[in-house]
Symmetry: C2
Subunit: 149 residues, 2 copies
């Protein structure tokens, strides 16, 4: 079973222009063409495209994904550098998550701040609240934060 670019795009839920763009950028070296020049996507290409999607979710750039694909197409001899690339990406995602957690703590604190201020009708009460009265979970965020405005 082969698919045209439009069919494959539909399967993946992306515009066909995106697949053409990826092809132009060298991300789809595995896609063959018909005698008339049309892309003929195979079942196995769907798996490649899922792999690309997955890499993209990690925040990897198209350039790095292309490098990865190129290596993967060269077979087992490139397993080591591929592992290295994935390993670095994993580290990057972990870092990203840790940063997001700190950001989330800040947002939790700010939301609490406004909820409290709204309940008392003014921001004065909570702005001048002594540290001891601030619920424990928010104190850490407060310490590393500017005052909410």
């Amino acid at each position: 079973m082969v698919y045209t670019v439009g069919e494959m795009a539909k399967l993946l839920g992306v515009p066909a222009s995106t697949l053409r763009y990826y092809d132009k950028e060298g991300l789809l070296p595995f896609v063959e063409r018909s005698p008339g020049g049309r892309r003929m996507f195979q079942e196995k290409d769907y798996e490649w495209l899922q792999t690309i999607e997955c890499m993209k979710k990690t925040g990897m750039s198209l350039r790095d994904i292309r490098v990865y694909i190129d290596m993967a197409m060269r077979g087992d001899e490139t397993m080591e550098p591929r592992l290295q690339l994935l390993s670095r990406q994993r580290e990057a995602v972990r870092t990203q998550m840790a940063e997001l957690q700190r950001t989330l703590d800040m947002l939790d604190f700010k939301c609490w701040y406004y909820e409290t201020a709204l309940r008392s009708g003014t921001s004065d009460a909570v702005r001048n609240m002594p540290l001891e009265e601030i619920p424990e979970p928010y104190r850490a965020a407060l310490r590393q934060l500017p005052k909410p405005e």
Copy 2:
């Protein structure tokens, strides 16, 4: 104590061009000018800038940050919409983190895959490994994933 744009940029660890850009985009309505037209940053402006930085880390667009700043400058009457904005942003960050976790699971699995393949010298062994032999933590990721290449 007042600072020029260059001094404030140094304090924040960003290029001065970024602060000028933010000003042009309306993110710094609080910064006053000298008679000669130069920006004079005050201590309190430093706190505003930290707030902007914090909002940016949540992935908020400059446009939304400007809206937030504008509201904050109008005082207590805008607390409710500000809370709504922060609340929405918090939801967005939570979603983002959940997605990253799934991505991380995938990367963990892929790294395990390559580590195993490298130890056995070929990807065949692990490619054909029956599900029961795959360590439990990785099975979930495998189920929602394309085969690694």
